[in-house]
């Protein structure tokens, strides 16, 4: 194996040989640690009872991270220490020429300081605040110093949307994008963009690591991935979490002063977040059986179509997609409608069609709740009282409207058979940040094009 392939990585094998004279610097750690009852995976930190994962050859395996190649108790994790073998640039590598608003600029400066100091920090900024742009200056400084930078997100879609923006912003820097189904093999680059699962393959690699959409599934629910993030950065490295909707756990860490936070309650274009309007329906699934949308939904759709606007329609489950689509086709025969869900093979094409304005309506599950931007849309949620819609999901969904400076407004209508805690909390959060932004003078005066 080439030595570069091992810098800051951890590779699973029983033996390992490396070209050139790095052999003596190889770090070898057992892939699993055994106690009398448990085995603990050294890649993802998850522990399992021995009895559950004993193989007939009397070794054990980790049932939590096998998608990245199965860890067994007879293997080793091999790495070479990260040497930061990058070309140092004399001038800033930042090729992005946009401007930050004063509020963005303040956050951006805090982030630069956090990166330089190697701290752990949370950037809590509303949907459409322009989080990515706030990273650019801090990352530019890090790259100039020859540091290794990683940007990770639990969602592939988010990674794929971020990659071209970083490529454009740092056009002279070597960049690689890593995710499960990628075709390009791994390469040692100064800037890595990857899914949080891929962090399991790194060991003390990054001087700066950013986790975008930190509250999204599966990162939030998987302790193995939290461990992976800690282990993928150097011990002295900085770790920055980004989200518009931090989990209770992150908020608690902030209150306990275990985590510092930068807070930005307004969008970059200086318009407030569209607030959620809620209408109650009665047994909407039963109306769908008769190919009819509940009448309040129909009323809103009439309004949307007469204004010739496009919209996203969120439903709780994959099985709801078809009923909604056929009711739409029956009651609005001229409307161009498509449906999309996580397992849909044509998912990326349909999202692109929606972006191009070829569709009037895209009926979707929560996969489009975050990380995607459509220019000029309204948002509808049907069955907003379903348990799949957490407060965070609802706030993210509402945040799909009015993201672009050219079209800063949009309707956000929720329909539910009953009010839930999640709906109440989502509406409260959006009103709260708007009021806060108003108070800080971030809304109205300073929009930019």
């Amino acid at each position: 194996m080439k030595e570069k392939q091992l810098f800051g990585r951890q590779v699973l094998a029983d033996t390992m040989s490396v070209e050139t004279n790095q052999q003596s610097r190889l770090i070898r750690r057992p892939a699993m640690i055994e106690t009398s009852q448990w085995v603990i995976c050294q890649r993802c930190s998850q522990k399992t009872t021995k009895q559950e994962v004993r193989l007939p050859n009397s070794h054990y395996y980790c049932p939590h991270c096998f998608q990245l190649g199965r860890v067994t108790s007879n293997l080793w994790l091999w790495s070479l220490p990260e040497p930061n073998q990058f070309v140092q640039c004399a001038a800033s590598p930042l090729t992005w020429t946009g401007e930050l608003t004063p509020a963005q600029d303040a956050c951006s400066r805090q982030i630069s300081d956090i990166f330089a100091a190697g701290k752990t920090h949370l950037l809590w900024a509303v949907t459409g605040a322009g989080k990515t742009e706030m990273l650019f200056h801090g990352i530019a400084e890090a790259l100039m110093k020859g540091l290794r930078v990683g940007i990770a997100s639990p969602r592939i879609d988010v990674c794929l949307e971020l990659a071209p923006r970083f490529q454009a912003a740092f056009s002279g820097i070597s960049q690689i994008v890593l995710y499960g189904e990628m075709e390009r093999p791994y390469d040692y680059c100064q800037l890595t963009i990857c899914t949080t699962h891929q962090l399991l393959r790194f060991y003390h690699a990054f001087d700066v690591l950013v986790i975008d959409e930190v509250d999204a599934f599966p990162f939030a629910a998987d302790p193995g991935l939290n461990y992976a993030a800690e282990q993928a950065k150097k011990e002295s490295g900085a770790l920055l979490y980004l989200t518009a909707t931090p989990s209770k756990k992150l908020q608690r860490q902030e209150r306990q002063k275990k985590l510092s936070v930068s807070y930005l309650p307004a969008r970059y274009h200086g318009h407030p977040l569209p607030e959620i309007r809620l209408k109650l329906t009665s047994r909407w699934r039963q109306s769908l059986v008769k190919k009819r949308l509940p009448s309040p939904v129909k009323t809103i759709l009439r309004k949307i179509t007469s204004n010739q606007r496009h919209f996203l329609l969120f439903v709780p489950h994959v099985k709801d997609l078809e009923g909604v689509q056929s009711a739409l086709k029956y009651q609005f025969p001229d409307m161009e409608v498509a449906t999309v869900h996580a397992g849909d093979e044509n998912r990326h094409e349909k999202v692109q069609q929606m972006r191009n304005g070829e569709l009037d309506c895209l009926v979707t599950t929560t996969i489009l709740e975050r990380g995607v931007t459509f220019a000029n849309i309204d948002v509808i949620v049907l069955g907003a009282d379903d348990a799949v819609f957490s407060t965070a999901a609802l706030v993210q969904i509402a945040g799909r409207a009015g993201r672009k400076a050219a079209y800063p407004t949009g309707l956000v209508n929720f329909f539910a058979d009953r009010q839930t805690k999640a709906i109440k909390e989502a509406r409260r959060q959006i009103r709260f940040v708007n009021r806060k932004a108003q108070k800080e003078g971030l809304i109205g005066g300073q929009s930019r094009g």
Binding site: L55, N57, P63, F66, T72
Partner: protein, 226 residues
Amino acid sequence: MAECLLCHRNSQEQLTLWQLLNFQPVEHSLLCRTCLGSLEAISPEQACAGCGRAWSDQLCTDCVQWREPSNFKNRAMFQYNDLLKQYMSQYKFYGDYRLRKVFQTRIVHEVNRFKADLVVPIPIDAATQQRRGFNQVAGLLEPVKTVEGLMTLESDKQQPQSAKNRQERLKSKQPFKLNLKAEKFNKKRVLIVDDIYTTGRTIRHAATLLLDAGASEVMGLTLAHG
């Protein structure tokens, strides 16, 4: 609350009144109801008399063209559909050995119906055994008393069957030899078990060997057909 081993969703199983009042430990299903619902069982009455695919009780077009030995009948339990493909990929290729238990109860039930004298799992080659750490068919048959009646021939780098097309598969040579003395099979009814029946080439090679060794009847059972 138990997590489905395939889709990782929490299966929200409600206890029935019977389970509550029974005061017996409740056996949790390893898969959720959605995944279990995607299984397509093949009924023995609605299956090809040669290969066991879902068909009428006549021979299917493939079996009319080729089936040797001609007195070998296979029973397949499920269609090899998307869910079963996902299952096999996670079990075999990723090596998640926990999944062996998913079908065990059903397999024991099927095996018992054959009333065979000997149950022989299809073996895997030594390199795969070493890498995977288990034989997937033996794992499925864990609660059943089996004999290792066959072993793979030491041939230089065989291409796996899954990497070939139908014509190439049918041409492949005998990959097994007996692992026991031929007398052991003499006048015995033998059941061979494999994971998937595709062209039938593999399991029928095994059947030929056992019939030549003197078995009175050789039958086949596979988890899936496709």
